[in-house]
Symmetry: C3
Subunit: 262 residues, 3 copies
């Protein structure tokens, strides 16, 4: 089953749609990437809100357009609040996305992520080592970084998609997005992005938001990956290292329009 390339017109259409909707995104994410995640969503026209108290998280996921669950700095309190938010989201019909940061080597988050797989995520976004570990096919990467190539994790991503009914995105030099039957490949981006904390976590937030778009979810998630990759390539061209990359990347996301995909 060879992956197809995402059509440029589909990416352009999804981006245009994304900008018009002012999506309200409930982000329960790790402490390291909150500012960057919020700024990425704001640059794309969405409204992020980071609500973390257990009671408030359950209230808020019911009124948000989408929910992000990122386990990067998981604690017992945060896990309780995330569970409450997911259950409330599922009742309300809010799609939720899982970013299983560093799953594999660390027991608490690994058990938690596996528990969450039964709670019907709309999408899962991880690097190759995370997707392999989540699918039970390896013991994980090195800290938060992958030790595997995205292509090597494609069978794991497809199995995970079939098991959970989620769209699974395994990202790397090439991103693969699959629903277990169809697979789309997304190119672009730059290795410099791995020298800036939170590029993957912020992508997961855009993936979460894209699950609130009407239309084919596989295409929407692949479009989210493509938007970030295109903005990343442009930002690298406009910057002189990982420091100047960040402002250039947010400016690129803010300016990006359909013509970027033509």
């Amino acid at each position: 089953m060879q992956p197809d390339l995402l059509h440029r017109a589909d990416a352009a259409h999804a981006l245009q749609h994304f900008r018009t909707l002012s999506l309200l995104i409930h982000c329960m994410t790790n402490d390291v990437v909150q500012t960057f995640t919020a700024n990425v969503l704001l640059a794309l026209g969405a409204s992020p809100a980071m609500v973390i108290d257990e009671q408030e998280a359950a209230q808020f996921s019911a009124i948000a357009d989408a929910l992000l669950i990122n386990v990067g700095t998981l604690t017992a309190d945060r896990a309780r609040a995330m569970r409450a938010a997911i259950h409330s989201a599922n009742t309300a019909g809010t799609p939720w996305t899982l970013d299983p940061v560093a799953v594999g080597a660390l027991t608490f988050r690994s058990d938690f992520c596996k528990e969450l797989l039964a709670l019907r995520p709309a999408a899962i976004r991880g690097n190759a080592s995370e997707i392999l570990a989540l699918a039970g096919m390896s013991a994980g990467g090195r800290g938060v970084d992958t030790t595997d190539h995205a292509q090597a994790a494609l069978p794991a991503a497809q199995a995970l998609a079939r098991q959970t009914q989620a769209v699974v995105a395994v990202t790397g030099e090439v991103d693969y997005v699959t629903d277990g039957v169809r697979t789309l490949a997304v190119t672009g981006g730059d290795p410099l992005m791995t020298r800036v904390v939170g590029t993957g976590c912020a992508l997961s937030a855009v993936v979460a938001a894209s699950c609130a778009l009407p239309g084919d979810r596989l295409t929407s998630v692949a479009a989210a990956c493509s938007v970030m990759a295109q903005a990343g390539s442009r930002a690298v061209a406009a910057s002189t290292g990982p420091g100047s990359f960040t402002p250039a990347f947010l400016d690129a996301l803010y300016a990006l329009n359909g013509e970027a995909f033509a």
Copy 2:
């Protein structure tokens, strides 16, 4: 009761005073905006410190020049520590400022903020939806964003100021600062600032610090709004999007002097 425009000489004078005092500001703020808040205060010559343990927060608010309470990522633990800090601040005579982020739709923070109104805040800074909700005149905005114009919230701000004896700043395209009797209007800033997370929260930190200035508090708080608006306008002129805005804004705050208001 028509608002008066803040006098430029008053803004220039307050800024000059602010820079000379090296104010020590205790910030109990949300997890998303801590870095930006600290950098804004540092650029203006103040010394921020984020102390959050309950016992330490009570110790620190007694020796700080001012205290900021921002409920953006409130938890039960954080609420306890904030209460302890406020009581200690009140005993020591440290002025404290409330930023009621997203008050209205979320029950826990709404109850908490209303409880705090009885604890004599020196100032309250919010967007229109937050000030309307805090005054009991609406159910709040959409997530952390306002769905109302600042001018529409001016009567609520004035009522809230009379009720609490605090200076209330309701910020938006035009900012209004009121003590319930007098009202000052502050212009400047740019809509691009709503595409950068933390500009409002950082303003609240500067408002908190400005409450430690000697002299008329209404004028000091309005001057804080004006300083941020002036730096914002300059930064927008020097940047190409929300990413390059942030470094340009901090540089503008650092460079801003009385001549900017002439």
Copy 3:
């Protein structure tokens, strides 16, 4: 006992070594500086991971190359997790570094830091007021800022090094790095760095990582100080204030090579 200047060839050699090792650094640091700390380590080729749950922290410090303990936003939960991580690090032979932020005036962190001194830190990095307070020779600075000069804290640093067997770095206009017998002085940097939150905290993370280098630890820690000072000087030259400093600093760290010390 006059300090010697760090040899430039030693700094260049340590930097080169640092870049080749892709060190995995477990950062338990304060909420304000996590993003900047991660980006500093990434710019230098290391892999940061912020793991904070008590059980996970103990798992992770055993597999990391080095552990950083920074008490800036200490809470009771965080203190428990830090203790677990340190004990596990000591069992596994992972070197750990203490940044005693604002020790002195605040009781909880002061007691905690003094308890940690018995747990064999590899290195301690603080400003003059922090090192004086930790050595029991003063009551601390003003918030997170020093009120003393680094040179005035050198005897305290040397006493602390002899007491704990740690390499102690007291940083300021000139940095002093001592093992209680030998002392190295490191010049460079710029006062503008005190107007950017987290430059000291990020230095502590680089110090922590440098403790994982083979060879003389005193030299490695002094080299870490020198790398940050050199990049700081270059970034100040390339920037127009504290806002543009941050991207310029990360770019400078990313580009820095041995020739910078020639």
